[in-house]
């Protein structure tokens, strides 16, 4: 065995704390090590060339690179050694950056630790064997979970490229959050005008199937071959018959809270969220339907011209096969009412969220685009009032440790500026507008200019400071919301008597995002946003091969960023699925049947049913692991009492050798 050891400086990232040159020299004393070398940037072209040169000239049969995390460059270096004719799995990485130089300061101690890490890797590399990947055929269909703008964009891109795409949307229509927006910053073009055509494109695209009012129940399989169970929720309406005429909605006698309009108005028990819904199909909210609650009514059934109402309808389950899955589950608005008691916990009618205001501004919204004070709406005999003074409060549920939301929601600054501008265009330039902010984050193209316009052209008064309290009071006989805050620039208390207060409520992960992540075995952060494989190198991939990310499910994003990411994701999915065969990781488990004692513990514990009973010539049965099914977790290996199962790449011998190498004194 001829081992080559390459120690990286990573500029000063490693060499600043670890004597890369020194440990490279010392590694020459290790058994079987015939070549050692320290390199300034091992991952760079000259670095990789040096490795290949050494492999060829010194006839190396194993390679250890002491550098960064294998999550960073293992793939890179496997390719490097393969390029020099060495099996890529005869390579091992020693992580002396993330796990050493970056977390330590003492040069001597860090250097010794780095050397021990390196020795463990050399011990492991001795145990490695040449591995050859398996090939499995690939299912080229794509599942997109979530039919918001990100999902739609990814779907269209993929469908245009010729792949069959299925969008699973849990609401009765696609469109997501963007469908609820009035205008979009910084161009102020109408949200619907951009979105609805895309929704229609998706609906009409021959390669796209939209499964609205459906949810993903179970995901099995692996990259290239996922099997997904999808639940079609009972709408109590036969969608193959429903024509979306909305007669039922008009005639339905039962009111129900209007989720689409964020509770600003009521809708009916049978409803269609908004006029441009796709698909435009009605669904019954059973909890509010008289027939289901009181056993009488059936008005919808009587009035439906298409005879589509079906009170007996039950949830249906379908199973579909996909090669890749795109997560586009979007976002929810931060539930500020539960956290900001100083803002009235939602009990002050004239304090509303940004999204509610968005609906109010929207022509097809509950107020037909009129800006009104909720406290004055729906009161018999009186006309609703327009607000004369409007206060916007930023960072409600963003950048606020006290409510467990340290992150910036990244869109609030901009949509507040937008709403401020729109307010003036609705209620006139004489409306007084204050914006309480911490900082203005206007980093996108044309964003800063947009905020400037609001401040100068539209005379929106920006007050730098947090609002400490909102409460109702009567001022000059009028009912006002008193906004008490501080102007940190002037360094004094300010108080504004407002007619309307709009909270720039931040973005949180969509409800149920964690449960869904667990079905797909992908990582998520403490707020439920999905974790990318690497923020820079693999920003749209997850750690689960074949599962990708698009839009706000990964982190708060505005529309341009979400759409850009969606297209990027589509490109990645294409890169994966344009191949007819996929190489599967050869780092899987294998049974030594000569030693198998047929105790079937492996069969019992495998989450993927990879081990199977295989009949032998003598009539007995032994365990056999189906290579393409094995995911290489090694649960069976740790369970097999005779240790006759080997997990290639992570053998028990290798683990024990690493332990002994480390603990040897």
């Amino acid at each position: 065995m001829r081992i080559g050891v390459f120690v990286c400086h990573c500029g000063t990232n490693i060499a600043g704390t670890v004597d890369s040159k020194g440990i490279a020299a010392r590694a020459a004393e290790l058994k079987d090590v015939v070549h050692t070398e320290d390199l300034v940037y091992t991952c760079s072209e000259p670095g990789q060339a040096a490795i290949q040169k050494a492999i060829k000239e010194k006839g190396l049969t194993r390679v250890v690179v002491a550098a960064c995390s294998p999550h960073m460059h293992e793939v890179t270096f496997r390719r490097t050694v393969e390029g020099a004719g060495l099996n890529p799995f005869l390579f091992e990485m020693a992580n002396i950056r993330e796990h050493c130089s970056w977390i330590h300061e003492d040069y001597g101690m860090a250097t010794e630790k780095a050397y021990e890490i390196l020795k463990m890797s050399v011990a492991k590399v001795r145990q490695l064997e040449a591995l050859v990947p398996n090939e499995v055929s690939v299912n080229k269909d794509v599942l997109i979970i979530g039919g918001g703008i990100s999902g739609i964009q990814a779907a269209l891109d993929l469908a245009d490229a010729g792949l069959k795409v299925t969008i699973v949307e849990r609401e009765t229509t696609i469109g997501g959050t963007m469908a609820r927006l009035d205008k979009t910053f910084p161009t102020l073009d109408c949200s619907a005008c951009i979105l609805t055509p895309r929704m229609v494109d998706a609906a009409q695209h021959e390669n796209i199937e939209i499964m609205a009012y459906c949810e993903v129940e179970k995901v099995q399989g692996y990259v290239g071959n996922f099997t997904v169970d999808i639940r079609k929720k009972a709408a109590m309406v036969d969608w193959t018959k429903c024509i979306g005429c909305e007669i039922c909605v008009q005639k339905c006698p039962a009111k129900a809270p209007d989720v689409f309009n964020v509770g600003l108005a009521d809708t009916k028990a049978i409803y269609i969220p908004f006029p441009q819904a796709v698909p435009k199909r009605a669904a019954i909210q059973v909890d509010h339907c008289r027939w289901f609650q009181q056993g009488k009514c059936k008005v919808c059934e009587r009035v439906c011209p298409a005879d589509a109402i079906d009170y007996e309808q039950k949830d249906e389950y379908v199973q579909k096969e996909f090669g890749a899955i795109v997560m586009a589950t979007g976002l929810d608005v931060f539930p500020w009412e539960d956290y900001y008691h100083e803002y009235g916990s939602g009990n002050i009618p004239d304090v509303i969220s940004g999204l509610q205001y968005e609906r109010m501004l929207n022509a097809s919204g509950p107020t037909q685009g009129h800006v009104l004070r909720p406290s004055t709406m729906n009161i018999k005999g009186t006309e609703p009032e327009e607000p004369k003074t409007v206060v916007f409060i930023q960072c409600v549920g963003s950048r606020d440790e006290s409510v467990g939301r340290p992150y910036c929601s990244s869109v609030c600054c901009m949509y507040t500026a937008k709403q401020a501008i729109l307010t003036k265009s609705h209620t006139g330039m004489d409306t007084e507008i204050f914006v309480f902010y911490i900082d203005i984050r206007a980093t996108g193209k044309g964003y800063e200019e947009f905020v400037k316009r609001a401040q100068t052209e539209f005379n929106v008064k920006y007050v730098r400071g947090r609002v400490s309290k909102l409460y109702e009071d009567t001022v000059d006989g009028g009912r006002k919301v008193i906004v008490r805050g501080v102007d940190t620039l002037l360094g004094k208390q300010v108080e504004v008597a407002a007619d309307l207060v709009v909270l720039a409520s931040g973005i949180t992960a969509a409800e149920g995002s964690v449960q869904l992540a667990q079905k797909l075995n992908i990582s998520y952060d403490e707020w439920g946003f999905y974790k990318e494989s690497h923020p820079k190198l693999r920003p749209v991939e997850t750690n689960t091969a074949g599962v990708f990310l698009a839009g706000a499910c990964q982190s708060p994003k505005d529309i341009p960023t979400a759409v850009a990411q969606a297209s990027g994701t589509a490109a990645k999915v294409l890169g994966l699925l344009l191949r007819d065969k996929l190489k599967t990781s050869p780092q899987i488990a294998i049974v030594d049947q000569n030693r198998c004692v047929s105790c079937w513990k492996c069969v019992e514990v495998c989450p993927f049913s990879a081990p199977q009973k295989e009949e032998q010539r003598d009539g007995t049965s032994k365990s056999k692991i189906i290579e393409t099914v094995c995911q290489g977790c090694g649960i069976c290996v740790a369970t097999c009492p005779v240790n006759c199962i080997t997990l290639k790449g992570f053998t028990t011998d290798a683990i024990i050798d690493q332990l002994e190498e480390l603990l040897l004194v």
Binding site: I103, E112, D525, V605, C633, I635, A638, F650, I655
Partner: protein, 153 residues
């Protein structure tokens, strides 16, 4: 001779060879805790020196006997960490692991090994700060106990 030859290779003293120094073995799963440790590194979160990590695909791969083996070979502490229950990359590995490590955790004191010398925990890929905390607390408590002496295992 050979024995000596070997230790001579480590010119200077490692924290673990140093007087009163301890050797702490960490066995972590590839998807959560190893990545969490990477995150801690990227964030330059300073940590104790004595921990050495072994990477395995899943805590389900870890035979509790590895920990015993480590102690038998002279480890002063063993830390095992993986994905939070429910988040296993292989969906079930850490559930099996949890039972095994719980038993191990309860057996070790019976073998004369102080409870503070073993810990199993869960650190996700996004919990860099938690990783730092876990490492510093655990290595700290092992250092407080010092190297194991007169051990039966």
């Amino acid at each position: 001779m050979a024995q000596a030859t070997h230790t001579n290779q480590a010119a200077g003293t490692t924290p673990s060879d140093a007087e009163g120094g301890v050797k702490v073995v960490g066995i972590v799963c590839n998807w959560c805790s190893y990545a969490g440790a990477d995150g801690a590194g990227t964030a330059r979160l300073k940590q104790e020196y004595e921990l050495r990590l072994l990477r395995v695909p899943c805590t389900g791969r870890i035979d509790p006997l590895f920990a015993l083996k480590a102690f038998e070979k002279g480890a002063d502490g063993v830390l095992i960490s993986g994905c939070h229950p429910g988040d296993c990359h292989y969906s079930e590995g850490n559930y099996y692991a949890r039972r095994k490590f719980e038993l191990l955790d309860r057996m070790l004191p019976h073998l004369g090994i102080e409870p503070d010398r073993f810990k199993y925990t869960w650190v996700s890929a996004s919990e860099a700060a938690r990783w730092q905390k876990v490492v510093n607390e655990f290595v700290g408590q092992v250092k407080a106990l010092g190297p194991r002496e007169g051990r039966a295992l």
